[in-house]
């Protein structure tokens, strides 16, 4: 997997966490269990740092997708896009494609083979 793709995966993980903290029901639940969620600004700082390192075109593509989807980039397990559950073509798994970030033809999410 290329380094730029790794950056995007880390960014997606972080964005999911930030979204959870910002979600009132989830953060209320976590706080009621005793967790203190005081470091949102630290998470946002870490996010900015990662975003700066990510190549611009790739970041734009990702951010456009996150306008529609919580999870914009996904690993492929089996032969399905786990975003929309459409079967992926066999060409998807060719040796050439293995290291590339690909796009689900049905939903547009970014897909990678872990």
């Amino acid at each position: 997997m290329r380094d730029e793709h790794r950056l995007l995966i880390a960014l997606q993980d972080l964005d999911i966490m930030i979204k959870e903290v910002k979600d009132k029901a989830t953060s209320k639940e976590l706080q009621s269990l005793g967790f203190k969620l005081t470091g949102l600004s630290e998470l946002q700082e870490a996010r900015e740092k990662l975003a700066k390192k990510t190549p611009k075109g790739l970041l734009q593509r990702y951010e456009k997708l996150t306008e529609h989807f919580t999870v914009a980039i996904l690993p492929v397990t089996g032969n399905l896009c786990l975003g929309c559950f459409v079967k992926l073509p066999t060409s998807f798994f060719s040796a050439v494609s293995r290291n590339e970030l690909q796009t689900c033809e049905n939903c547009g999410r970014l897909l990678y083979i872990p």
Partner: protein, 158 residues
């Protein structure tokens, strides 16, 4: 929040995913040790992403809730399936717990990104409820094998 049956909760604990003698003595090295254990057991596709995620989670606020217990948790693209790991440190270590006391046991709960947060929240909630009883906690601090762990978790009188 839906509650979970005790038997369902215990079914998440796998013998291979229990560490009864943690070697690490520091917060970050404990995270590394437990994540490595998951990788060895094929539960994750990449250690680096999980460690980063857990570090970020700790910067949001320590998951060391006090009373000697911590609940590191989160979701990542590198998690293959919902996984629960139990780890114990006989001497305890500084995990930035909210009460400042050493942390002796860890329940790590990880969920894949394509599942919602409710999957791990239900487990978290159930586990936190379970360890409220001081007698149960005391037993967990001393547990050194899987059968005993399951027994303690199951025991309604504890």
């Amino acid at each position: 929040m839906k509650s979970m049956e005790a038997s369902k909760l215990i079914s998440f604990f796998e013998e291979d995913l229990c560490i009864f003698h943690l070697r690490s003595r520091k917060k970050m090295s404990v995270l590394t040790e437990i994540v490595h254990h998951l990788a060895v057991n094929n539960k994750i596709s990449d250690e680096h992403f999980i460690i980063e995620m857990l570090k970020n989670r700790e910067s949001l606020g320590s998951t060391g809730l006090g009373n000697g217990v911590a609940f590191p948790h989160g979701r990542s693209l590198a998690i293959k399936e919902l996984s629960v790991l139990f780890a114990r440190s006989a001497s305890g270590l500084d995990f930035d717990a909210l009460d400042g006391k050493p942390t002796k046991i860890f329940f790590l709960i990880l969920a894949p990104s394509d599942k919602g947060s409710e999957t791990y929240l239900a487990i978290l909630s159930e586990l936190i409820g379970l360890i409220q009883k001081p007698a149960k906690l005391k037993n967990l601090f001393e547990v050194t094998d899987y059968q005993a762990l399951v027994k303690i978790l199951e025991d309604k009188d504890l």
